[in-house]
Amino acid sequence: MAFIPHTPDDVRTMLAAIGVGTIEQLFEEIPATLRAGELTGIPPAASEMEIGRLMSDRAAADGCPLNFIGAGAYEHHIPAAVWAITTRGEIYSAYTPYQAEASQGTLQTIYEYQTMIASLTGMQVSNASLYDGASALAEACLMAVRAHRRSKSARILMPRAVNPTYRRCASAIAGNQQLSFEEVAFDPASGQTPLDALRRYEGEDVTALVIQQPNFFGVLEEVDALADWGQRHGALLIAVVNPTSLALLKPPGEWGERGVDIVVGEGQPLGVPLAGGGPYFGFMTTRMEHVRQMPGRIVGRTVDLDGRPGYTLTLQAREQHIRRSKATSNICTNQGLLMSAATIYLSLMGPRGLELAASASMARTAELVAALDKAAGLRPVFSGPRFHEALVRLDRPACVVLDEFARRGIAGGFDVARDYPELGHALLVCATETKTDADIATYAATIADILRAPRAA
C-alpha cells in the first residue's frame, strides 16, 4: 500500500466537489506577507553517493575521543548482542504500531520493558517510554498538577542542582501551561539540596517537589529526608533518577516513609550509544492511584476467550485519540526502538550485571578523583557523597582546559560555567566502567600537563 494521501486525481475530485479551481485559490485569503513562499538557501538534491560521502566526512570530524563527559548521558559498555538483536527485522521499528494488538511481539517487548522499569524504580506501573529524560520531567510536572487535586497553585519546587537542560525543558514545555517553577538552592559546601532551603515553603501550597538522584553534580541527595519533607507538607514527589545507579541505590518507590509519586529519567545509559545527543528515551513510572493521569501508552497483559495470554494497549481513555484536548498528553507513541534496546540490555545484564556496571563506574570515578588530586592537586568542589561523576575545581576557565584536551583527542568533561556561573572555574568529569587504569592515568597526566602552562592574563 502506497502511503500517498492524495493523488492528483483525488485532489481534482475534491476541488471540483467544493467548486474551487486550484489549491492556491483555497489559500487566497491568507495575506501574501504571511506566506512562507519558496524555501531559500536549500541546495539542489544530492545523489546517494554524494550524501554517503558527506555523512562519512561529518562522522569522521567527530573523531573518536577518549570520553570523560557525563552530564546526563553516559558511556557504558553495550554488549554486541543488544543492537544485533534490536536491529533484526522482527524488532526494528521506531513506533508503537497502529492496530497494536496485531503486533503481539512488540506489545510483549513493551510489557517486559514496563515490568523491568517498574521493578528498577520500585513503582507499581510504567508507561511504554517517552522521548527523553528532559521531556519526561516536563510531563511529570504536568502530571503532578493533574494528580494533586487539592493543590491549586501548580507550583513546582525545582532544585538548582537538577540537570539544567531538564529545568529549561520543563519550563519551555510546562511554563506556558500556568505552571510555575521555583528554584531551590543547593548547599555550596556539600552540593546537596538542604532541607533548610525548603523551610520557607512550609505552610504554603506546593504541588510537587522534584528530587534528582544523583543530582547534576553527581552528588547523592539525602532523598529520604527530602521525600519525607514533601509528604509532610502536602507536595507530590517527582524523582529524577539515573537507571544504572538504581542497581546500587534505594529505588524511589522506597524513599522516605511512603516513597515518591512519579519517577522519571533518561534511559540512555541502558544500552543506547552516545550519538551526538540522541535519540535517547525517557522512562516514567508511578503509583497505581495516579495511573489515569500518566501520559503515554501502557501495555497490559490479559487473556483471550480461550484463556490464552495476550497483550493489549490499556487505559487508552487517557490518550489523545480518545480524549482529544483533554488527554493527559499529546504523546500517543513511545520511543520504541530504544526501549527495545534497553529491554534487551537489561535482559542480558541482569540485576547482577547492572550492579557490576554501576559499582565499577562509581569506583572508576573515585579513582579518577584521587588521580586528579595526586597528579595536579585538583580537588572536588563538593563534599557530598558521589555516584559516578564529580565536579573539580580549576584555576582557569574550564573551556580553555577543554580546548587543550580536545587537541589531544580527549573529551575532558563538561564546563558548568554557563549554567552555574556562581561556581567559578569548575569541570564536571565522569569515568564509567569503560575506562581503564591507563585511561585514568592518561587523563590525569594530560590535565597536569595542560595546567602547567601559565594561565592567560
Binding site: R292, A317, R318, K326
Partner: protein
Amino acid sequence: MSSNVPAELRYTKSHEWVRRNPDGSVTVGITDHAQHALGDIVFAEAPDAGRAVAAGEACAVVESVKAASDVYSPLAGEVAGANAALGETPELINTDPYGAGWLFTLKAVDAAAVDALLDAAAYDAFLEETAE
C-alpha cells in the same frame, strides 16, 4: 431499545438527570440511555466538594471500555458531595444509574433553573427524535 426514564426526575440533552432533595440540594447522575450507550463503565471521577460549578461546565468524567466522556453540570451551584462508592464499584452506574450510581450532589441551586430542565416526557421525546 427503550430506556428507563423515571417520571419524577429532570433531564438534560447531554443525558444527565437531576433529583430534587428535601434539603434543597439536588443529586446528579447520568441516564440509563447514557450508561447503555457508554457500555461497561470502568472508572468515574467526580468533582471535589466545595467546587463552584456553572451550568454546562464539564465537572466529572465517566470512562467505559469504549470511551471517556465528560459529565456536564446541569445547573449552577456548589458541589456538596460525591459518590465515594464509585471509586471501588464504578459499575453501579450501569446497574443502578438512577440510584446507587449517582455521581454528585449540588447545593445553592436556583429552584427555577431546575424547573427549566427537561421533564421526563420531554427527555423521552428528545431520545426518540435523536434515535438512529
